[in-house]
C-alpha cells in the first residue's frame, strides 16, 4: 500500500482551499431575500443552493484526482460488482468457518 497520495502538495493545498471557498459559498446570504423566480418557477435562493450542490460534485471530482488520500487499487477494484461475484471464490478461512454469523 502506498502512503503517497497522487497530486502535488500544491495541488492538494489548492483543492482544500477550494473546499473552504465552497463552504463559504454555501453560507453566503446574498440571494436569500431575492424574489426572482428562475425559469418562472424556481425561487432564486433555492436555485443558488442547487448551483452550490452542482459545484460540490465538480469540486469532489477534482479532489479524487488531485488529493485522494489513498492510491490503493487492487486488481479487483477494476471489476464490476457482478464480475467479482463470478470470479471470487471463498478463501480458505471462509471454507473452514462455522456457517453461522458470529
Amino acid at each position: 500500500m502506498s502512503e503517497n497520495p497522487p497530486g502535488s502538495r500544491l495541488s492538494r493545498s489548492a483543492f482544500w482551499l477550494v473546499v473552504l471557498l465552497l463552504v463559504g459559498a454555501q453560507q453566503w446570504s446574498g440571494s436569500w431575500s431575492s424574489e426572482t423566480l428562475v425559469l418562472g418557477f424556481l425561487p432564486a435562493p433555492l436555485f443558488y443552493h442547487v448551483m452550490v450542490s452542482l459545484a460540490a460534485v465538480a469540486v469532489w471530482w477534482v479532489g479524487t484526482i488531485v488529493a485522494w488520500p489513498d492510491d490503493t487499487k487492487g486488481p479487483e477494484a477494476l471489476l464490476s460488482d457482478a464480475e467479482v461475484v463470478r470470479t471470487t471464490g471463498p478463501s480458505e478461512d471462509e471454507v473452514s468457518a462455522t456457517g453461522e454469523p458470529s
Binding site: M1, E3, N4, V19, L22, V23, Q26, Q27, S29, W32, S33, S34, E35, L37, L39, G40, F41, L42, P43, P45, L46, H49, V50, V52, S53, L54, A56, V57, W60, W61, G63, T64, W68, P69, D70, D71, T72, K73, G74, E76, A77, L79, S80, D81, V84, V85, T88, P90, D93, E94, A97, T98, G99, E100, P101, S102
Partner: protein
C-alpha cells in the same frame, strides 16, 4: 385498498430479496457482517446514499418545507452534499484502510485498539446505541405516518380514529418486522442489495411523484407550465415561503449537523464493505448530486402544499397536526390508487433502506463489542448462541424504539436534529484518532463524557426535552454547535495534559512516512 395491496406486495418482494441474498452467502461471519469486502463503487454509492437518506430526507423535509419554506434545502441539503462527501473522503477511506489492515468490524474495535483500552469500548458502546435509538425512531415514525397517510379512507368501519386508514402503530410494526426478517436472512449482502434496490426505487418514484404532484397542482399544458402554476399559487398565498430568512449564525450551525455521518455506526460498517479505497470515489463525487435529485422535489412539494388546491378545494385548509403526513396526504389526494400505492412504496423504500443497516449494525456491535469481547482468547464458544443473543438484542432495541414511537411523536425533522447533534459531538474523537498522534485515552474519555453531559443538559433545558422545541437555540445556534465545541475542547485540553501514547501504538496507526507530525519520544503505555 389498492394502495395497501401494492405496499404489501412490495414488502413481500423485499422478503424475497433477503432470501435470495441468503443463497449467495459464503457462510462466514465476515460475509454476513461485511459481505466479504466485495462491494464495488456502484453498490457502495447506492447503499451509502440509501443509508443516509431516511424518513428525515423525504417525509421530514417535505413537512419542514411546508412549515418553513424553501430555506430547508439550504439548511440541510446543500450542506449535506458538501459535508457527507467530506466525511467519506477524510474519514471513510482512512477507516476502510485501517479496517483492512487490522480486521475491524465496528467502531468500538477501532477505538479500543487505537487508544489501547478495552474499557473504552464499554463507555462508547452505550453512547452509540443510545444515539442510534432516536435515529431508528425517525424511521419507525416515518413508516407509520406514510402507511397511515396513504391508506386513509380505505376501511369503511375500522380504524375510525386513524381516518379509516392503517393506524400508524400497525404500519410501523409491520415495517419493523419486514426489515428484521430480511436483515436476519440476508445479512450485509442482503442489506446492501436491498439498499441498492430501494435507493433506485425511491429515486425513480420520487421524481415521478414530483411530476404527478406538479401536474395536478399546477395544471397547464406543458410540464414547465405546471411548475410555474404550482409556484404561482404559493406566490399569491404564501410568498414568505419562497425566500430564506434564517439568522446567519443559526444557519451556520446547520452546517455541523451532517458532520454526524462521520460517526454513524452503520455507515462505518458500510465503509468496511468496500472492495478497495478506489470504490469510494464514485460515492464521494455523486452523493451531492443524488441529494439534489431527492431534496429539491421534496422541498418544492412541501412549499406547494401550503397553497395547493385540488378539485376546487384547499388540500390543507388547516395545517395538519402532524407535518410528517403532508407528503402522504398530498399523494392520496392527487395520485390515483395505483400510482399512490407505488409512490408510497418508494417512500417506504427510503425509510427501510436506513432501518436495515441500523438493525444489522446493532447486532454486529453487540456481538463483537460486548459478547465476543468478553470471551477469553482461548475459549471456544457456541456461535449459534452468540447469533441468537445478537438477534435478541436487535429485537429488544427495536421493541424499545417501537414503544417510544407510540408516545407523542415529535416532528421527524426536529428529532433528527437532536440525534445528529450527538453523533457530531463524537466526530472530534474519530478525527483525532485518525490524524492526531497526541490523542490520549483520558482525552478521548473526557471528550465522550463532555459530549454526553452537554447534550443531556441542553436537551433538558429545551422546554422539558421531549418533544423537542423546533425554535430552541443556544447562543443563537442549534445545540450541535455547543456540543461540538465542548467535546473538542475537552479532547484537546485533556490530551495535552496527559501522557502521550507510546510510539508502538503510534507506529500501528501512523506509518513513518505519513504526514501528521513528528514522532513522540517513547513513553510507557497508559494503564487501561
Amino acid at each position: 385498498m389498492t394502495q395497501l395491496a401494492i405496499i404489501i406486495a412490495y414488502l413481500v418482494l423485499l422478503l424475497g430479496l433477503g432470501a435470495v441474498a441468503a443463497r449467495f452467502s459464503r457462510g462466514t461471519s465476515r460475509d454476513y457482517l461485511l459481505a466479504s469486502h466485495s462491494i464495488g463503487p456502484v453498490l457502495l454509492l447506492m447503499s451509502l446514499f440509501g443509508t443516509t437518506m431516511t424518513a428525515f430526507a423525504l417525509v421530514g423535509s417535505t413537512g419542514k418545507s411546508y412549515q418553513l419554506g424553501i430555506g430547508v434545502y439550504g439548511l440541510m441539503a446543500s450542506s449535506s452534499g458538501i459535508v457527507h462527501s467530506l466525511c467519506f473522503f477524510v474519514i471513510g477511506v482512512k477507516l476502510w484502510k485501517l479496517g483492512q489492515q487490522h480486521g475491524y468490524t465496528t467502531q468500538v474495535e477501532f477505538f479500543r485498539d487505537r487508544l489501547g483500552s478495552h474499557a473504552f469500548g464499554y463507555l462508547l458502546f452505550p453512547v452509540l446505541v443510545g444515539l442510534v435509538i432516536p435515529y431508528l425512531l425517525i424511521g419507525v415514525l416515518g413508516a407509520g405516518a406514510v402507511v397511515n397517510g396513504v391508506t386513509r379512507g380505505t376501511f369503511d368501519e375500522a380504524f375510525a380514529s386513524s381516518g379509516h386508514g392503517v393506524p400508524p402503530w400497525l404500519g410501523s410494526l409491520t415495517i419493523c418486522l419486514v426489515v428484521l426478517a430480511y436483515v436476519f436472512t440476508g445479512g450485509m449482502r442482503g442489506t446492501a442489495w436491498a439498499n441498492t434496490f430501494q435507493t433506485a426505487v425511491f429515486m425513480v418514484l420520487g421524481v415521478v411523484t414530483f411530476v404527478v404532484i406538479a401536474r395536478e397542482i399546477g395544471g397547464g399544458e406543458s410540464f414547465l407550465d405546471s411548475l410555474r402554476g404550482a409556484t404561482a399559487r404559493v406566490l399569491e398565498a404564501h410568498p414568505e415561503k419562497l425566500v430564506m430568512k434564517p439568522p446567519k449564525l443559526f444557519f451556520f450551525s446547520f452546517l455541523l449537523i451532517p458532520l454526524s455521518a462521520g460517526m454513524f455506526p452503520h455507515l462505518f460498517q458500510h465503509w468496511l464493505t468496500a472492495r478497495s479505497a478506489a470504490a469510494f470515489k464514485l460515492p464521494v463525487i455523486v452523493h451531492p448530486l443524488f441529494i439534489l435529485i431527492v431534496w429539491v422535489p421534496c422541498v418544492m412539494v412541501g412549499v406547494w402544499a401550503t397553497s395547493a388546491v385540488v378539485d376546487g378545494q384547499q388540500v390543507f385548509a388547516e395545517p395538519p397536526g402532524n407535518v410528517n403526513t403532508v407528503l402522504p396526504i398530498l399523494l392520496g389526494k392527487v395520485a390515483g390508487p395505483v400510482l399512490s400505492g407505488l409512490l408510497s412504496a418508494g417512500i417506504l423504500a427510503a425509510v427501510m433502506s436506513s432501518l436495515d443497516s441500523q438493525f444489522l449494525c446493532l447486532g454486529t456491535m453487540f456481538t463483537n463489542d460486548i459478547v465476543l469481547a468478553r470471551r477469553e482468547a482461548n475459549e471456544t464458544g457456541d456461535d449459534g448462541r452468540v447469533v441468537r443473543m445478537a438477534r435478541l438484542f436487535i429485537v429488544a432495541i427495536v421493541a424499545v424504539t417501537y414503544l417510544l414511537s407510540l408516545g407523542e411523536p415529535a416532528g421527524i425533522f426536529d428529532l433528527g436534529l437532536w440525534c445528529f447533534a450527538g453523533f457530531t459531538g463524537l466526530v472530534p474523537l474519530v478525527l483525532a484518532a485518525l490524524y492526531w498522534r497526541r490523542l490520549t485515552l483520558p482525552g478521548a474519555v473526557a471528550s465522550v463524557l463532555a459530549m454526553v453531559v452537554t447534550w443531556l443538559t441542553l436537551f433538558l433545558l429545551d422546554m422539558g426535552g421531549y418533544p423537542p422545541d423546533p425554535r430552541y437555540k443556544f447562543l443563537g445556534m442549534l445545540p450541535v454547535a455547543t456540543v461540538l465545541a465542548v467535546a473538542t475542547i475537552a479532547l484537546v485540553v485533556v490530551s495535552l495534559a496527559t501522557r502521550p501514547p507510546s510510539n508502538e501504538t503510534l507506529a500501528k496507526f501512523f506509518p513513518p512516512n505519513s504526514s501528521g507530525g513528528r514522532a513522540i519520544p517513547d513513553v510507557p503505555e497508559l494503564p487501561d
